[in-house]
Amino acid sequence: MIHSVIIFNTSGVPRLIKFYTPIHKSAQTVVPKIYSLVSTRPPGSCNFLEAPELDQLLGQKDVDEKLRVVYRSYATLHFVFVVDLSESELGMLDLIQVFVEALDRAFENVCELDLVFHFDEVHHILSEIIQGGIVLETNLDEIDSSVHQAASARKQSFAAANPLALGVGGVGPRNAGLQTPLGWLTGKITGVGAR
């Protein structure tokens, strides 16, 4: 199964941390360590992270439980999957690709900022691909339609609760800046949230 999915940027700032199994060390020690190992790898290396200190970091007991760290880098982001032996190594590389493509479809030309401001949305998309550490769906079209269905359900629910709102909480290209007129007004008055 997949034990965790981590996204961080090239400076090591986490953009998404998802642990499917409890880990014996806190995410705040694991993530920086994985980042330092990933970021020091020379270009052109393979996508499997191996380091002598990794076993100890992930708390591995024996060979059968060995965890593998598979990662892929896109522009300014590193996508890291920690998986065990029942996942195929090359299959995981493809799955990362599926995840990125799903993000790309949802956000239309995804970039790091989308992940920054819609971290909840990224979680929702991931939950259409992996549930509880088991791969749920790999077909991109299926994923996309489920993502859209869930997003529009949230949008409808939001709209029903806030008649004045303009689509906050829905998925869409950078509509985060749009605020409710009331929110916009209050922002103007108090200066809170000014960019």
Binding site: R41, S45, A51, I134, L136, T138, V192, G193
Partner: protein, 888 residues
């Protein structure tokens, strides 16, 4: 009340990078207010912000109740926030989980959207209690009309079963039905789940094989095929018939599929599923290895990596096939990529045979030595380095793998374990291997000193033929003052000095001029070493002196006496520095050695006027020729150490030694004080105690008495010393003559006893006093002549470097006790051979070596027999009957 949304929080964070913690503290304060609000929207926004901060490492466990509140909101967009927060922050020990049972029950049967989100949440946060309460609801959802829900339900059922296995009989049949589902996505999810279940317990799912096999031959979905093939890899070791059935379709897949991931999975399953072991497996194995070799040459590093991974698994069964590609694999060890190096290292360790060990080890060693020219940063790398260092904080520059200490450590450990595998089975030339170990000591610069030390000691004990070479290397190491000076540095492998000192000391006969090594062993810098190493150094110095003085005595030249005195004086002064060492072990050894050498110094001082003494002193003139011309103390030390040769001992040796019949571990050594009574009499026959067959009941009584006996013995000892002087006046002239005769006999004995050194020439006047003192002497020491005979002549002194032409013999099993016929496996031999008799006559091992037991392979020589100390009293010298064993 103007609240901030998540977006505002993130923007604020980005704007306040300098004092982030202050900003967050303020934000958390706001959240604490908002989260208590009655407005659900506001509460949810606060929870969402908290979830974001949780990712940055701020605790949100205090808000778990509010999370449940948001989860229970009827509005879907709020519910989604609540579930997300729960997924991220709830753990197995979150106490509010039990509050969610009814909420989950309701959501599971609500609208499809709610069901989906609750199934997802359930898969993350499930606890045994929740699993028990919700298992039926989740299983029911396996037949939901929407495939999306069925898919999620399949995974949720698996998660439930993990926490609540009691539901398995009821859930498993329903789960298996999903393999026939109309929707391929549901089937794929079921396969994913089954793959996990089969991996945990393969034998329980063999009945699924036909169904899975049909899926494998009909499906074209590569994702599912990969999982199916992996599944068969787990199953087939448990069902031999499956192997036969699977071979044709898998062979076909290997040769036809364009998807490399599927191809690799097929090859991998062939290997782990045992499909290559059968008669028909050889061609398949060849096909697999050819495919993997093609991966190895591929420019894609990923393929190279997985090829190495799979080849390591195929090596144990098809070593020859892999050996063809040895050069290619060897070149991967110098790859820029650490991951590939690690895999190649594993693979090479698995590939090692007698023939290729040397070349592989040499290759690995060359990695440790000097700068790695192949990994000098290229222009592109240094550019990337600049970029990464300008954008990142905390991440170091890109180092070549050989510069990473963790990698070096792994490399050296691999090297050592590979060579020592199966008791050095693959090592042919031990001279070479010892040199490798010494090289490693110098170049490793990681903490492997203790492993090298253990191997050195182990080899010297097991391989007789290499001893002299080992001594030569170790002398070199001890003489190396720079190594000693650097010993305190990190990764200096200073522990090897322990082995060096021990080997030199133990094989001091092999050293040409042992006295020249003494200054190195006792130089002041040694005190910076670890205490156990200093201990070994001191002990080695004593041993070396022992063998040197022995050598001198064999070829005595009275002109040497001044040399010896000087050496002894320096030894004492150097040793005295260590008597105040902070570690008690060092102190004790130094103090012991100082006393021994003081003894020798005293003897040497008296030795110069010995020639005159001899003519005037008590012994008759006809015995002067037999008297040693050299100072006897020269022979003091050597027998302490060389009486017995140290061999490696079989791990089962202890089991082969029969437990003495008289040994009862339940017997009191000292009885409880309340049972104390006045002893009836001091029994004189306690020497026979061991021979008497004792019943359990008797033993108990015996045990009680034993303590008393000791006490009474002490009393009798005290009382018996008194009558002796008082008996003086009443003794007759005959008695006196008899006593005088015995005294002379005894003196004669002492004359040959290296442990008895008179500070005065013998005289008849002091006889009475001397006799009254009980003399304690150590029993069972071999006579001097015997010791000299057992020493085999050192070849080293004849020719400096003789290279033994005969192959090295490794003592793999180790020594077994004499007369032990029973092999180690059959411990239940009804009549184990008695070995005590032979041990009795053999000289005792004076356990003078610190912490020899480094690993299980080489424990100490033999079961240490307690040393018998016999207290000889005035009348007890000649007759064995009255010998009283005080310590047994």
């Amino acid at each position: 009340m103007w609240e901030r949304t998540l977006q505002d929080l993130i923007r604020g964070l980005r704007a306040n990078k300098k004092d982030e913690s202050k900003f967050i503290a303020q934000a958390v304060d706001e959240i604490r207010q908002e989260i208590k609000s009655k407005d659900m929207e506001l509460k949810a926004a606060a929870v969402l912000k908290l979830t974001y901060l949780d990712m940055l490492g701020y605790d949100m466990s205090w808000a778990s109740f509010h999370v449940v509140e948001v989860m229970s909101s009827p509005k879907y967009h709020l519910k989604a926030v609540g579930y997300l927060a729960a997924n991220q922050s709830f753990g197995p020990d979150t106490d509010v989980l039990m509050l969610t049972t009814n909420l989950l029950k309701k959501d599971l049967t609500s609208s499809p959207n709610d069901t989906a989100i609750s199934l997802n949440g359930l898969s993350h946060t499930i606890s045994p209690d929740l699993a028990q309460d919700l298992s039926r609801d989740v299983v029911t959802l396996l037949n939901h009309s929407k495939p999306h829900i069925r898919k999620r339900a399949v995974i949720a059922v698996y998660k439930t079963l993990v926490k609540y296995p009691e539901a398995t009989p009821f859930a498993l049949t329903r789960l298996k039905e999903r393999l026939e589902d109309q929707d391929l996505g549901v089937v794929a999810a079921t396969i994913n789940v089954l793959c996990e279940m089969v991996r945990r317990e393969p034998s329980g799912y063999l009945s699924l094989a036909p169904q899975l096999f049909r899926l494998m031959t009909t499906s074209s979905n590569n994702w599912m095929l990969i999982k199916l093939i992996k599944l068969f890899g787990f199953l087939s070791p448990y069902e031999p018939r499956l192997v036969k059935k699977l071979q044709p379709p898998i062979t076909e897949l290997i040769s036809t599929t364009p998807a490399i991931s599927l191809l690799y999975e097929c090859v991998h399953t062939c290997i782990v599923g045992g499909m290559l072991l059968h008669a028909s497996g050889d061609s398949l194995a060849e096909l697999c290895v050819t495919k993997l070799a093609a991966f190895l040459q591929d420019p894609d590093q990923n393929l190279k990596y997985i090829a190495l991974l799979a080849l390591a698994k195929i090596v144990p069964t098809h070593r020859n096939l892999v050996a063809q590609y040895q050069d290619m694999i060897l070149s991967s060890i110098s790859d820029q990529d650490l991951s590939i190096r690690m895999r190649a290292l594993d693979l090479l360790s698995a590939m090692v045979t007698r023939d290729n060990l040397q070349s592989i080890v040499q290759q690995l060693l060359s990695h440790l030595v000097g700068p790695d020219t192949s990994s000098l940063p290229t222009a592109a790398q240094s550019l990337a380095l600049n970029i990464s260092s300008s954008t990142s904080d905390g991440a170091g520059p890109i180092l070549a793998p050989t510069q990473l200490s963790s990698y070096r450590l792994t490399l050296v450990q691999h090297l050592l374990t590979t060579c020592s595998h199966d008791t050095y089975d693959n090592v042919v030339d031990f001279q070479w291997y010892l040199s490798v170990l010494l090289d490693l000591t110098y170049v490793a610069s990681v903490k492997v000193g203790d492993q090298i030390r253990d191997q050195l000691v182990d080899i010297v004990a097991r391989v007789r033929g290499v001893k002299r070479w080992a001594v030569e290397l170790m002398t070199r190491l001890v003489r190396d003052d720079t190594f000693l000076a650097n010993a305190q540095e990190e990764g200096s492998c200073a522990e090897v000095l322990w082995a060096a000192a021990w080997i030199c000391g133990e094989n001091s006969r092999e050293i040409a001029e042992p006295q020249k090594l003494l200054p190195h062993l006792l130089q002041p810098n040694v005190s910076f070493l670890a205490p156990e190493t200093i201990g070994a150094y001191l002990q080695a110095a004593v041993k070396l002196f022992g063998s040197w003085s022995m050598e001198l005595s064999e070829d005595w030249d009275s002109g040497r006496i001044q040399d010896i005195r000087e050496v002894v004086d320096t030894l004492i002064s150097r040793l005295e520095n260590f008597t105040s060492h902070s570690e008690v072990e060092v102190q004790e050894r130094a103090a012991n050695a100082v006393q021994l050498f003081n003894f020798i110094r005293a003897d040497l001082a008296s030795a110069s006027f010995r020639p005159e003494d001899d003519s005037t002193a008590g012994p008759p003139a006809n015995e002067t020729s037999q008297n040693p011309t050299y100072p006897k103390s020269l022979l003091l030390i050597n027998p302490l150490f060389s009486a017995y040769e140290l061999n490696s001992v079989n791990t089962a040796a202890q089991d082969c030694i029969p437990v003495p019949e008289s040994l009862d571990l339940d017997v009191w050594i000292v009885p409880p004080p309340r049972e104390y009574t006045v002893p009836e009499a001091a029994p004189d026959d306690d020497t026979q105690e061991g021979e008497r067959p004792l019943t359990k009941k008797k033993l108990k009584g015996k045990g009680k008495r034993k303590g008393k006996e000791k006490m009474s013995q002490a009393e009798t000892l005290g009382s018996q010393t008194d009558p002796i002087p008082s008996a003086g006046p009443s003794e007759t002239e005959e008695d006196k003559a008899e006593r005088e005769k015995r005294r002379l006999e005894r003196m004669e004995l002492r004359r040959h006893d290296p442990y008895y050194i008179p500070d005065k020439p013998y005289s008849a006047t002091s006889a009475n006093d001397i006799d009254a003192i009980p003399v304690v002497h150590l029993d069972d020491l071999p006579p001097l002549s015997q010791v000299a005979e057992t020493q085999y002549p050192s070849l080293l002194r004849d020719s400096a470097s003789v290279i033994p032409s005969e192959p090295f013999v490794v003592d793999k099993n180790g020594e077994m006790p004499e007369g032990a016929i029973s092999p180690p496996s059959s411990k239940l031999d009804p009549t184990p051979p008695m070995v005590t008799s032979s041990i009795d006559t053999a000289p005792q091992v004076l356990s003078s070596f610190p912490a020899y037991v480094v690993d299980e392979e080489i424990p100490r020589m033999k079961t240490p027999e307690p040393i018998k100390v016999k207290r000889t009293k005035k009348k007890g010298v000649s007759s064995a009957k009255s010998r009283r064993t005080v310590v047994e």
